[in-house]
Symmetry: C2
Subunit: 251 residues, 2 copies
DNA sequence: AGGGCTAGCGTACACTGTACACATGGCTGA
DNA sequence: TCAGCCATGTGTACAGTGTACGCTAGCCCT
């Protein structure tokens, strides 16, 4: 009576027991007067996390925000982790690219910059991704699709294209994550999030420098460092990665 | 009676009220028969997180593991976040480098590879770093010191050296994080952590591909992809980043 | 020998994610 | 038109979390 119905689910159900969220999302009857929606939930959760941080996002709080009982959420989401997946997917905006789709450098640049903007606009993003392994959400796949498209005309094997994309993604996520970290640290201390990182350094590294270990770093700091221009640095890094990959792949 | 004692703490205490952990660590009297140590705590926490995952690491559980009351830990750590900082610092091993210190490429390669190994050996590392903004821990500073040293002979400004290091770090963290994510996902499903990623793809992307969106990705998958060699891919990416940066900086 | 400082203890509180049983209202087939 | 069903939303309960607070007991120095 309750056994798997057909061969389709046979393999997956062994581990999952419930179809994996994105599959449920599509063929949802959601017939009766439903006050909730996956979209509505995701948007409320995103808004809450944006406003008060990921640590303020609890199922109870989110339910209140939606004017609904806590457990109502679990009709749409199997666990809080799935809620995070929903949020992660929700903030990726695979809008039409303005870059010339034939110019692969321009496409990768645009996608990279957009990702940085997204991560800065939703500082919980990177932490959430680290907490809930969730590659292959629909929106991210759509972005991947664009990237593959941009590489199409190049003489690369399928494996090389995937490597290319993964390496660029790695830099992008890493750089965005580092920047978010710096901002959160600044905010946690007194200074506003977009202040000068050097204040942070001066202050909390004073004893490090004074300690005499790290002489080279001390020298650099004392010689004077310019304020960090994160946007420019991101572009520099991205360009370097693209250069390096292009050279290695001979394109 | 309880006011700040001297000018040293004046600025920092405004925001912190307690000296920032690393400072406390050094000048600790810890005179009386102390059964606990920062080191002992950090090691036990790391062992626990390694064995059972970051979500199994609770103050109660850790205290039991150490044969001590829960609140005893708070004599050494102001909050769980500080515990995480301790752990993050503990797993970085700035051992003597085997690479020729004058060969900056070799140094960066070695440090990058070591970081990857560390992240894979302690899969909670990246998530913990995303959760607790904690650049500038002593061990990481020591590594930074090495990197600065390697760049010393090059004709770069201080700012350029810092940019160089930050960009490489961004890629390193991003790539390691992605790899850890993949592994955790594989383990969460049935397959062992070091299995073939293609299994994961085949299985959980079946409906994605069948849906007809993502035609390009479907084509790539159907044309057949080789198993992913993560180690080689990491080296490729790292080399590309170093190439790209070197070219941009003209070194 | 005694006083004080401090490492460690125990309890208590507000809060978390979620399992489970129950109510209810809109759609469906007759 | 109306019965009945089932998905949607509700309420309560439980084990477990981080940590504030006040207490005890032993080491160190005078």
């Amino acid at each position: 009576m309750a056994e798997p119905k057909d061969s389709f689910t046979a393999a997956a159900c062994a581990a999952d027991a419930v179809p994996p969220l994105w599959e449920r999302l599509e063929s949802a009857p959601r017939s009766g007067r439903a006050t909730l929606t996956h979209t509505r939930i995701a948007e409320a959760a995103v808004a809450l996390a944006d406003a008060e941080g990921l640590e303020a996002l609890s199922m109870r709080r989110l339910a209140i925000e939606l004017g609904v009982a806590t457990m109502a959420l679990y009709r749409y989401v199997v666990s809080k982790d799935e809620l995070l997946e929903l949020m992660i997917d929700a903030v990726v905006e695979p809008d039409a690219l303005t870059a010339d789709p034939a110019d692969w450098r321009a496409v990768f640049r645009e996608i990279g910059l957009r990702r940085r903007r997204t991560a800065l606009a939703h500082p919980w993003l990177i932490a959430a991704q680290a907490q809930v392994p969730s590659l292959l959400t629909p929106a991210r796949n759509e972005v991947a699709e664009r990237m593959i498209g941009a590489l199409e005309p190049l003489p690369l094997t399928g494996d090389q294209k995937m490597q290319f994309i993964r390496v660029v993604d790695a830099f992008t996520n890493g750089a965005a994550g580092a920047e978010v970290n710096r901002r959160m640290m600044m905010r946690r201390r007194g200074h506003g999030a977009d202040g000068d990182v050097r204040l942070l350094l001066r202050e909390s590294m004073r004893w490090l420098l004074r300690s005499g270990r790290y002489p080279r770093m001390a020298k650099l700091v004392q010689e004077g460092l310019a304020p960090v221009d994160s946007a420019a640095e991101f572009e520099l890094g991205l360009a370097a990665v693209l250069d390096g990959l292009a050279a290695r792949f001979g394109v």
